[in-house]
């Protein structure tokens, strides 16, 4: 017998009532976990176009599954509590209870796995964002190609919303042709020179799109001829910090998603604790009621446990 407690009839009734309340609270926690999963998934789906793979979606998927399973499990626990004080109705739950404990243990393990995964998948998320953003920047100019025509809007919106520029920083835009050939005057000397200046025949310039501009800058935004100090009055390229967003979009997005997942961490941990409390209380209640029924309705009943009580929830 492990962790033995004596239960009078009065205390059994109290325990059943308290457990009924706790299991309904746990149902609400399950709903909360489900909503958390849904929220995280929608946030990830919103930026789907700049992510290359969907491995990180494992975290919200598991959260949603666990939330739904937790709602069902704890609802069953509340039904068991309601029937526990009625000797005629309790026996039908006996068979189910072992499965219930196994399921509760599985849910707690899954929740712990989610917390671990959200840290472990950070590297994969970074890779996915790196490739996705690189493609987004490369296809920025292809607003006439079906399937890629929304890349420009996506990247512009992303850069303005997250106050970032480029993949690692704004220089990523110098290496890509982001002005479409449709808008280049091929008779102009400047255009011809630029196209000839590199092997691939791309029109590269030291300029960035308007969405990189920082609204907090005291001067009107400088987008073109960024590396040329003489092109603008009173301008020093090396020391100018406020003109464009200095952060790279990859870093901004990772910070955002890590912040989201970290803030859900304490909530998930408290749900794990609650679930374990419900499981332990249900085990006490089950043993106490079975003991009472075995003794044939005498006042006191000893609580009996199976040998594996303390080590169940690993």
């Amino acid at each position: 017998m492990l962790l033995k407690i004596n239960f009078t009839q009065q205390r059994r009734v109290r325990l059943a009532q308290g457990l009924w309340l706790m299991s309904w609270l746990a149902v609400m926690c399950g709903a909360f976990i489900f909503c958390l999963g849904v929220y995280l998934k929608t946030e990830l789906l919103r930026r789907n176009e700049v992510m290359e793979n969907t491995e990180i979606h494992m975290v919200p998927n598991i959260l949603m599954m666990v939330g739904l399973a937790s709602i069902g499990t704890n609802w069953v626990a509340s039904r068991v509590c309601q029937d526990s004080l009625d000797a005629t109705r309790f026996p039908r739950w006996k068979v189910l209870l072992l499965a219930w404990f196994a399921l509760a243990a599985l849910l707690c393990c899954l929740l712990i796995a989610v917390v671990v995964l959200s840290y472990a998948l950070q590297g994969r998320l970074e890779e996915s964002l790196k490739v996705g953003l690189r493609n987004g920047i490369r296809f920025y100019k292809d607003t006439d190609v079906p399937g890629r025509c929304f890349q420009k809007e996506t990247i512009d919106r992303l850069q303005m919303e997250f106050r970032c520029c480029g993949n690692s920083n704004f220089r990523d835009w110098f290496e890509v042709q982001w002005v479409s050939n449709r808008y280049l005057d091929f008779t102009s000397k400047d255009v011809k020179d630029r196209i000839r200046s590199n092997v691939d025949g791309r029109y590269l310039l030291d300029g960035v799109p308007f969405s990189c501009c920082n609204p907090a800058s005291p001067r009107p935004c400088l987008q073109y001829h960024l590396t040329d100090n003489s092109a603008h009055y009173n301008y020093d390229f090396q020391s100018e910090e406020l003109n464009l967003h200095s952060r790279g979009c990859r870093q901004a997005l990772i910070d955002y998603y890590m912040g989201l997942m970290n803030s859900t961490g304490p909530g998930v941990l408290s749900v794990i604790l609650r679930q374990m409390t419900v499981a332990a209380s249900l085990r006490y209640l089950q043993a106490a009621v079975e003991g009472a029924m075995a003794l044939g309705g005498t006042q006191r009943a000893r609580r009996e446990t199976s040998p594996g009580e303390g080590s169940r929830n690993h």
Partner: protein, 366 residues
């Protein structure tokens, strides 16, 4: 001839009291909702406070907040009264207060209605205020080194990005002001000097707009400078180009945003007003039926409830008479020889002296 007379049995009276108790508590909740709506509107107006100049429109959310708080208090009292009205003995406690309470609540519902109407009438003042505020903000866009105005550039940029608008009425407003500070102009260049000389006030005016006017839906990279010059950009036609910049003016965009909020709030306040009026009607019926029960003496009997005891004209006349005679409280009533305890007929005998004999008639006729 009572107005809208209804017969109430004892059970109906009790049921009415209980229902009114619940409704009063719901009204407390709606009063709290009104309060929070007023608070929400205040916060929304303050968020764009820098872009509104001149007229003070804070009186609308302040009115809503005050009305919400008073509604909570009045309906809380009403709930208490209705709860006690189920028992005729407890009703005696509230008997004297009920009529003044009903009259006060009736006038209060007018305040709620005024609050609702103010929400709809605010639009004109808001438009003027925004017009002035936006013009000022655009004029001081370049003054990022002047304390007190240094955040206007950021405010205007963020506004234009968020509401997808450009300028006051349209993007051409930017052509008429200097939005590039002199700190960033090279006065030694010929082009700059020419531009400064080209207008009376010596302002550096260009046909360009800030970057926040750029439309993200445009298929080509944003054209911000030399907008009216077709030859400056390849494959560009200024007149037909619609996707390059935001076409809406910021005043229009902000007005639409606030209109939407105001209409929703106005609707909610109107519904609250109707609800309050119906609760007030119920309380009035309850009051009159309970008073009639007291008059009849038997607490279990049927009684009549009404809105007004006499017809509308009669009640108006009586009340006006009361208001008129209110001022005459201190004046002596001279119609009964000044003594209010004696009721002498007004045609009294002539007083002929101490022996009260009428004088002899003289028969001479000279």
């Amino acid at each position: 001839m009572a107005v809208l007379r209804v017969k109430f049995t004892k059970t109906r009276r009790d049921k009415l009291a209980q229902v009114l108790w619940i409704l009063n508590w719901i009204s407390v909740a709606t009063g709290a909702i009104l309060f929070s709506l007023g608070l929400f509107l205040k916060v929304e107006l303050n968020k764009r406070g820098e872009l509104m100049a001149g007229k003070d429109i804070q009186y609308v959310p302040n009115m809503l907040i005050a009305v919400g708080l008073i509604a909570c208090a009045i309906n809380f009292l009403g709930g208490k009264i209705c709860y006690d009205c189920v028992d005729t003995t407890k009703f005696l406690r509230w008997k004297l207060i009920m009529l003044p309470y009903i009259i006060c609540t009736f006038f209060f519902t007018f305040c709620v209605l005024v609050g609702a109407l103010m929400c709809y009438s605010m639009r004109g003042e808001l438009e003027e205020s925004l017009n002035l505020g936006l013009t000022e903000a655009m004029r001081f866009y370049k003054d990022t080194d002047t304390p007190g105005r240094c955040f206007l550039k950021r405010t205007v940029d963020v506004l234009q990005i968020e509401f997808q608008c450009c300028g006051n009425n349209g993007y051409k407003d930017w052509f008429q002001i200097q939005w590039i500070s002199n700190r960033y102009l090279d006065m030694s260049q010929k082009e700059v000097v020419d531009r400064l000389r080209s207008n009376v006030e010596g302002k550096y005016l260009i046909d360009g707009v800030p970057f926040s006017c750029c439309n993200i839906n445009s298929p080509r990279p944003c054209i911000q400078q030399q907008i009216t010059n077709n030859s400056a950009h390849f494959n560009y036609e200024h007149q037909t180009e619609e996707l390059n910049l935001w076409m809406k003016g910021c005043r229009q965009a902000l007005l639409e945003h606030y209109n939407y909020i105001m209409q929703s709030i106005g609707l909610a306040v109107l519904i609250t007003w109707l609800f309050e009026l119906s609760v007030l009607t119920g309380v009035r019926y309850l009051q009159t039926s309970l008073e009639n029960v007291l008059r009849q003496g038997d607490p279990n009997s049927e009684s009549d409830g009404w809105l007004l005891e006499n017809s509308f004209m009669e009640t108006a006349r009586t009340n006006l008479h009361i208001i008129k005679t209110l001022g005459k409280n201190n004046q002596i009533d001279t119609s009964n020889n000044g003594d209010p305890n004696i009721n002498i007929p007004s045609t009294s005998k002539a007083h002929y002296g101490p022996d009260n004999m009428p004088p002899k008639k003289t028969s001479e006729a000279s």
